[in-house]
Amino acid sequence: MTTDVPTSLGAATVTRGRTGRGRGHRRRYQGREVAWAYAFVAPAIVLFAVMGVYTLFWGLQLSFVQWNGLTPTWLWVGLRNYTDLLWASPVFSPPVRAAALNTVWVMIAAPLLTVAISFPLALALNRARRFVGLLRSVYFVPYITTGIAVYLAWQYVLEPNGAINTLLGALGLGSLSQPQGWLGNPDTALPTLIVIMVWSAVPVATLLYLTGLQTIDPALTEAAQIDGASWWRVNLSVVWPLLRGITAVILLLNLRDALQGFQIFLIMTDGGPGDHTNVLGLQTYRLAFQSELAPTLGLASALGWMLFVAAVVVAFVNLRVTRER
């Protein structure tokens, strides 16, 4: 059955399907019916207009003003918020630059580590013949439990007298333990948070790879094996290229999280110790809500828009690179 959908309600003319009662019959909707249609579509349009279009443009406008969110009026400053964040202000630009550097490290390390761990894990799980359901459930647990409670639990594990230092001591590796805690040492805090981000991201990535592995025609891998390819060669030269699309999705999802997510940084360190784990998402939050009522909401909005542009560029580059290969 086919139906020609009217291009606009204003036309209000529809050709019914070629089968059934209305075959070949054209009718014009009555004014009342058009009104009903508008009435039922209106909530969705209002919702989109308010939640989508209005907030988008309001937020963009906010990035050009100086405001603390309280006064009835704001001060138009044009592009100054952007220039202050990027280079002009000795107060605002240094923390943004430091946060950008940390964000770049997270953007490089978190997606790559996620792929490096989840792909072999998916291969192993795909080969498992026993306890398949149990194993897949176990590896999926970090995803369904990730949240504030788990981050707080990680804090306990990572503190000076926490489980990791205790374990290292018990194994005779006390020299590797961190006397100030893994989040207290400025040199280990960011890498530790990246590891926890990877721990949270691996389950979904593994699931995506598993889904991909199960769509690969076994004949392809069997043919390679018959030709003498080793297990490593099969996976690297046959399976990995076939899963390139999934790898692109995983990289993109994790890049987006690394660029814009800040929940883990807010809860576990609040950017500390000092400023050593501050990232751009957290810096945006600080400018909006932690600046002691200073008129920095516009700066927060400007930083948010720069993050948006960066996210679009990263997504575009990522898609281009994976498509070209």
Binding site: W36, A39, F40, A42, P43, V46, L47, V50, M51, N68, G69, L70, T71, P72, D84, A88, S89, P90, V91, P95, Q155, E159, P160, P179, Q180, G181, L183, G184, P186, T269, D270, G271, G272, P273, G274, D275, H276, A288, F289, Q290, S291, E292, L293, A294, P295, L297
Partner: protein, 458 residues
């Protein structure tokens, strides 16, 4: 299913759907909490969870007296309180009464037109201690500060009053574990900074695992404002201290004075509790209450938290952060200032009722009861023997307050540049201690660069 409904029902259904969705997206639907009361009952927002029960108790006696009910809502942490207020300011759904940071939030909210000017209504201020009675009023100094470029309180007018005090107190109080201090051979409270460092060393030596000093460095201002600044005031005196925040290289952090203060502050570095740089203020207090540290630095408000978390208050020794030997103020004391105040929203439908509520909380018996319930210090003059009203610990703390030029007043921020954000400066200072990533000259230069930025107004 729709075709089985009568036409009128369909009409109503469509209208109800549209209204419900429109209401939901604009946030104007009924029942959105936090809006001004119904004209009879009042709503009040506070950012102090520990004040809720005490305020509710005071509200009971207020209702008996006036028939006006008060609903108290805590919104924590501070950033959530700010975000909620920002949203309510735009939708004009503010509560009737706010608890605010005195000489801070109240001036910013007042400048934005969110608060009533209480100059005429606050007729009971003679009940407050003279040193804090005027707090919440725009004095000459605060007015001048508001006119600087980038000031958060731009728009306030001289002599406007946007709040009356609710609690008073001060920062810069060291809490020490009495038993551990005694066991380490320290029988008297340290009188100088050097004595304090020696006490830290002695307890640390006796108890390497839990003998350290905790402070909630996840809020980086704690180390700077609660520990270093009182010491710096004692070392340099008022003029020298305020000069640190100037853009004059001969007086600011990069000067000999500034480096000398940082040298002294750096002396505590070996004695921090391991991991203190990751702790929140509550975590640091909790570490002390649970015996994982032997010292904690806080304010008068810290006592309530320690007590609520099981610390035996008889096992606590408190003393103000002491002045270094040879300092400009050898006997440093701490001046009380209004920590929090009460403000009336400009959108209240019951201004008279709100003002009566503020006056009720300033009555001696109500304030005393509030203080005992909240373990916080009231601004009301309780006479010569506060111990009788508030108990020995709170009473002793009140007795230790100082006044005059020898008393450090952390609430006086008029020497700071406009739009000064202490957290940004304090994060930089953490590179010196506890993180040990910068030496004194580097840390001084880092701090000064930020302060110069604030002075430049960029």
């Amino acid at each position: 299913m729709n075709r089985y409904l009568p036409r009128s029902a369909r009409t109503y259904l469509a209208l109800a759907t549209i209204l419900a969705l429109t209401g939901a997206v604009t946030g104007c639907g009924p029942g959105g909490g936090g809006d001004s009361g119904d004209g009879k009952n009042l709503t009040m927002w506070t950012f102090k969870q520990s004040h809720v029960a005490a305020l509710q108790k005071a509200a009971e006696s207020f209702k008996q007296k006036t028939g006006i009910g008060v609903t108290v809502e805590a919104i924590t942490p501070d950033d959530a309180f700010i975000a909620r207020t920002q949203a309510a300011a735009q939708t004009r759904s503010l509560p009737d009464v706010f608890e605010v940071h005195t000489n801070g939030d109240d001036f910013t909210f007042g400048a934005a037109g969110l608060l009533e000017d209480l100059t005429e209504e606050a007729t009971w201020t003679d009940r407050y201690l003279p040193s804090v009675a005027a707090e919440g009023t725009v004095t000459e100094r605060y007015f001048k500060q508001s006119q600087e470029k980038g000031a958060k309180s731009a728009g306030i007018k001289l002599n406007q009053r946007f709040s009356v005090p609710l609690t008073i107190g001060t920062f810069g109080i060291v809490y020490a574990n009495k038993e551990r201090l005694t066991a380490a051979g320290i029988t008297e409270s340290p009188k100088t900074w050097e004595d304090f460092v020696a006490a830290l060393a002695a307890v640390q030596k006796a108890r390497p695992q839990d003998g350290g000093l905790s402070i909630g460095f996840q809020a980086p201002t704690t180390g700077m404002e609660w520990l270093m600044q009182p010491m710096a005031y004692g070392k340099l005196g008022k003029a020298g201290f305020t000069g640190l925040f100037s853009n004059d290289p001969a007086r600011n952090w990069t000067s000999a004075n500034g480096r000398s203060v940082l040298d002294s502050y750096n002396q505590v570095t070996p004695y921090w509790m391991p991991g203190t740089q990751t702790l929140t203020i509550d975590d640091a207090d909790l570490a002390f209450a649970q015996g994982r540290s032997s010292f904690v630095v806080g304010g008068t408000f810290t006592l309530a938290f320690l007590s609520q978390n099981g610390m035996n208050t008889e096992n606590i020794v408190t003393f103000p952060v002491p002045s270094p030997k040879g300092g400009a103020v050898p006997e440093l004391s701490l001046a009380p200032f209004a920590l929090t105040g009460l403000s009336v929203s400009a959108t209240t439908k019951n201004k008279d009722g709100a003002v009566k509520w503020l006056e009720h909380l300033a009555q001696t018996d109500v304030a005393s009861q509030f203080a005992k319930d909240a373990l916080d210090i009231p601004p009301v003059d309780l006479g010569g023997d506060p111990t009788g009203n508030l108990g020995p610990v709170l009473g002793a703390m009140i007795g230790s307050f100082g006044s005059g030029a020898d008393a450090y007043n952390p609430g006086d921020t008029t020497h700071q540049p406009p739009s000064y954000d202490a957290a940004v400066v304090a994060r930089s200072l953490m590179e010196l201690t506890p993180l040990k990533k910068a030496d004194v000259p580097t840390a001084a230069a880092g701090v000064q660069k930020i302060i110069d930025g604030y002075w430049s107004g960029k």
